[in-house]
Subunit: 576 residues, 2 copies
């Protein structure tokens, strides 16, 4: 008797399950169904289709070698039956069958299964704002929406777009609009910074600066209040909660996605706090004959103890392979997740894994962290660029909890994050990352790599050897006049700061500090400042060794400050 496998959903996880199951069990009877006519596509490619890297919709529906993955493809090359435009209406767990409806004919029927796989995906959340149903308001979750958006911009009707939601999809759409179409877009994010689930404030600000430098407007701490327009002419503007009116011909809603778990819930399967289907390590739901994966599940986080919803194509692919093994009699497990993430941000790249500092606090850790700014390869190598990297660890256990990185070379940024994520997966400590053996050669790294260096700094912070001040705190409290700055760079580098800030900005070069300590007023609150944070840390050690009060040193120094806050020194005065 051949094993009957029914898979509901045929976008990312479903086809992966089907193909893996087919390879492991040549006799299985495998059926995959989807409401949509489009199946087995790279949904993550939608912004690249809109932005022109993928010329037409077929590019998202094909393999690297131009084989179109439609129902005939699955039938012929995989011996998998793919029922498109077919909806699953009900799961009869006792009878092990699914009631399905052919959306073309309206006909209903039952499909028997030995094993059922839920690959039902997620649906974009539509915020309940006035005007959300106007023509020109669109989410970006499937190829129909993608086509509609691309055709709108191709017709040249869109001069300005407003994107509601500063997560990855919203930002990727803004980049796509700017890159190919020169559309002026504005991204509205209600949190204080973009990518609030992924990044802390300093790294997020670097991302925002990449976007604003490319002409995208970013409004943070702002909500969409109302979309203005009419049914005939479509969208005309979006009004924000603070009263701004943003003229636009297109509004993209990208505020998040909700797991499609109604079918599972109605069948009595356990769901979690985000409404995602709950699964065990083998991706099995609370019914041992039903598996689930991809965008419709939520998964335990490796560090927070909570479950999280991670709608990512990479997750779906890896989970699909695990499920494909489990539904054909093998044993495979999917580990807890770390929330690894990366994104291109115009000329730069950003990546992260683990917990942000705020998430670490929420999870009950006592986080310590530091942001370092260093060259991503030997400083003399022609392609060397500054990379910014934030590392977060627990003060008590010294376990590394999170990494965030930003830099001009996205592959190099991803390299650091992936290495630390791999280590975090195994419970790495600060000491482990401090000595993590990453490959070294001058074209690709410094002898002390930025990820090792970041662990060293956090180690020093945890041990109380380095009293560091986050840049956000520096910017806030310097403006409030809480301290003066002691800049320990050379006089030439400090000059433009002194010119602007006068006697609030002192200067004693690091190499003269030991000899000139009597110039430092022990009563005056000070912070130490240098190019990257390294020399100011050394100055701190020098001052501490002479019994002076410990002045904190500003994380990332001039390199981070000038990248974060272009207005601090004023335009044009910025030194390289």
């Amino acid at each position: 008797m051949s094993r009957k496998i029914v898979i509901i959903g045929a976008v990312a996880l479903g086809p992966k399950v089907a193909c893996r199951a087919r390879r492991l069990d040549p006799d299985a009877d495998i059926v995959m169904l989807d409401r949509d006519s489009y199946i087995s596509y790279g949904g993550c490619g939608i912004p690249y289709y809109v932005g022109g890297d993928v010329a037409d919709i077929d590019g998202l529906l094909s393999t690297a070698y131009h084989a179109r993955r439609d129902a005939a493809f699955f039938e012929n090359t995989k011996r998998v039956r793919a029922l498109t435009e077919t909806e699953a209406l009900e799961i009869d767990r006792a009878g092990r069958r699914v009631r399905v409806k052919d959306l073309k004919s309206g006909q209903e029927s039952w499909l028997d299964y030995d094993t059922l796989v839920l690959a039902t995906g997620s649906t974009p959340v539509i915020p309940p704002i006035e005007g959300r149903d106007l023509p020109g308001v669109m989410a970006v979750a499937n190829l129909h929406q993608a086509k509609w958006i691309k055709e709108s911009v191709q017709r040249g009707q869109v001069e300005s777009a407003v994107i509601v939601g500063g997560g990855a999809i919203g930002l990727e759409m803004a980049e796509a609009f700017a890159d190919l179409w020169g559309i002026q877009s504005t991204v509205i994010e209600m949190q204080p910074h973009v990518l609030p689930q992924a990044l802390g404030p300093d790294m997020a600000r670097l991302v925002e600066n990449s976007f604003t430098a490319a002409g995208v407007s970013i409004l943070t701490g702002e909500r969409a209040a109302r979309i203005v327009g009419d049914a005939e002419n479509g969208v005309q503007a979006l009004e924000t909660a603070s009263g701004k009116r943003l003229d636009c011909q297109l509004v993209i809603l990208a505020v998040g996605a909700r797991p499609n778990s109604e079918l599972a819930r109605k069948a009595g399967l356990a769901v979690g706090r985000f409404g995602g289907v709950l699964v065990d390590r083998r991706m099995r739901t609370s019914d041992p004959n039903i598996f689930a994966g991809g965008d419709c599940v939520e998964l335990p986080h490796a560090l927070s103890g909570n479950t999280v919803h991670m709608p990512l194509g990479s997750m779906a692919n890896r989970q699909g392979r695990v499920i494909g093994a489990n539904v054909t009699g093998s044993h495979a497990e999917f580990p807890p997740v770390l929330g690894s993430f990366c994104m291109k941000a115009f000329e730069a790249g950003v990546a992260r894994a683990g917990l942000t500092e705020a998430q670490a606090l929420d999870a009950g850790y006592k986080p310590a962290s530091a942001t370092v700014a260093m060259h991503d390869r030997a400083h003399f190598y022609p392609t060397a660029k500054i990379m910014y990297l934030r590392l977060i660890a627990d003060r008590v256990t010294r376990r590394v909890l999170g990494i965030e990185a930003f830099g001009a070379n996205g592959d190099a940024v991803k390299a650091r994050v992936d290495a630390v994520a791999a280590a975090m997966r195994f419970g790495a400590s600060l000491e482990d990352v401090s000595n993590l053996e990453v490959a070294y050669a001058p074209p690709y790294a410094q002898a002390m790599d930025i990820l090792n260096a970041a662990a060293n700094v956090v180690q020093n912070v945890v041990e109380g050897v380095n009293a560091a001040m986050p840049m956000e705190e520096f910017l806030r409290d310097f403006e409030a006049g809480k301290f003066k700055v002691l800049d320990v760079r050379g006089a030439a580098n400090a000059a433009s700061y002194i010119e602007k800030f006068g006697d609030k900005w002192l200067n004693i070069p690091g190499e003269e500090l030991a000899a000139r300590l009597e110039e430092v007023d022990p009563e005056q609150p000070l912070v130490l400042f240098c190019n990257s944070g390294q020399r100011s840390y050394e100055a701190q050690r020098t001052m501490a060794s002479r019994g002076l009060p410990v002045a904190r040193n500003v994380e990332g120094g001039h390199l981070l400050l000038s990248a974060l806050d272009k207005a601090f020194l004023g335009q044009g005065e910025d030194e390289k």
Copy 2:
């Protein structure tokens, strides 16, 4: 009483120990000495100085922000005494003192220590060949040699160079010569392929092809027999053991380096099989008052159980920090090493970590491995390139033992190797790497990343689901006529192969295979072939399910074959 720390050697490890010790102990009396006048330089930068990326020698002697790291710099900014042109002659362990000689004055004296640090580095091995003392024969280990080489080529006297040794330094020098100077160089390697300690044969061949494509000649399985020339005119040629005469005006000896451990050995400290000083996890020698690190030590390998000699600037930097903590009363440890390595190879990059398949066999493992060829990012993304990745694991424990990768984007190559190295550090299994959560976005990765995919393939190999044939074996045995090829790509792709090989190259496209299996002669030995190895694996599953003998599939398929063996199809016929 301030602690007396004496450091012998001031290139990479020594300065790092000194600076870290100073930061942790402001009162310590720290002395660093070196035979050379140049100290604290980036030796790994020498090829980039010769190749012009670093304009003058000062670039190697300075920080990223142009501070020259000389004796005055250490004295003024670090309060570290640096004695240049000073040689350590003898260690009196009982008396805790070192006899040193000022090479300028010839004067000898004793330096007392509480803790001694050996940072004596390594010396290039000079092979005992005739003519090795001729002018124009040079190793590349210090800045004097680097200057001499650069001045020779700058004078325009060098048209051709021969480099003895196909390790990293030899190859980097060949690239430096070609890049800036247009010097025709030949690299001679006595092993069957370059980088024999780092790579297996297929990845090494890809590196060789990068070099030959750029005009560098590579002679493997070849020895230098004699250098021809005279004292007045210098080198004129190098003769190889097989009788080739290579005209040249410069010979670079780059056959390896030997730890400088005479001082340690004479003082009775334990040394290992490569002559490196042996140290414990805290980098302490067999005398608890003496530490050692950098190029003069050997270290336990995390996977082989043996010690290894790893003369790398990154190692020295990280070890220096550990020693700096230990000599000032803290506790720090340095973990066993993985041999992580990367190198630029003209337009490509290569990286590796862990054991090669041969090294894994030597260490008593039962290795299984696979090479996969895949795009390094979404195939539709404009910068996507093919990456080649070999993963090696133990069949018994399923522990991942090694990774090697090659591709056009060196940062992306390094990203995969560093992530797997981080996981190997914690004893990762194939399953761990199969599900390693690397960051995903189309500009930087495929939804199923190449490193996950490689683990999947090796897993299939170990489980007997995939019977793969390494490319080396395919090339050898196809030529010997041991089998025919069943190409399961489309007819258009197979055409040029069929044209060349006639009925030795059969073609049934994968999607037609199930229906056309009767065309396959069960008596005929076959191997399966496709573009990358994926479709041929699926064909294998199809054949196996119909009871046909298991034909092995060729690893990496057309992508690897065409990159490895440009002559297989003949020039010009190569399809993209």
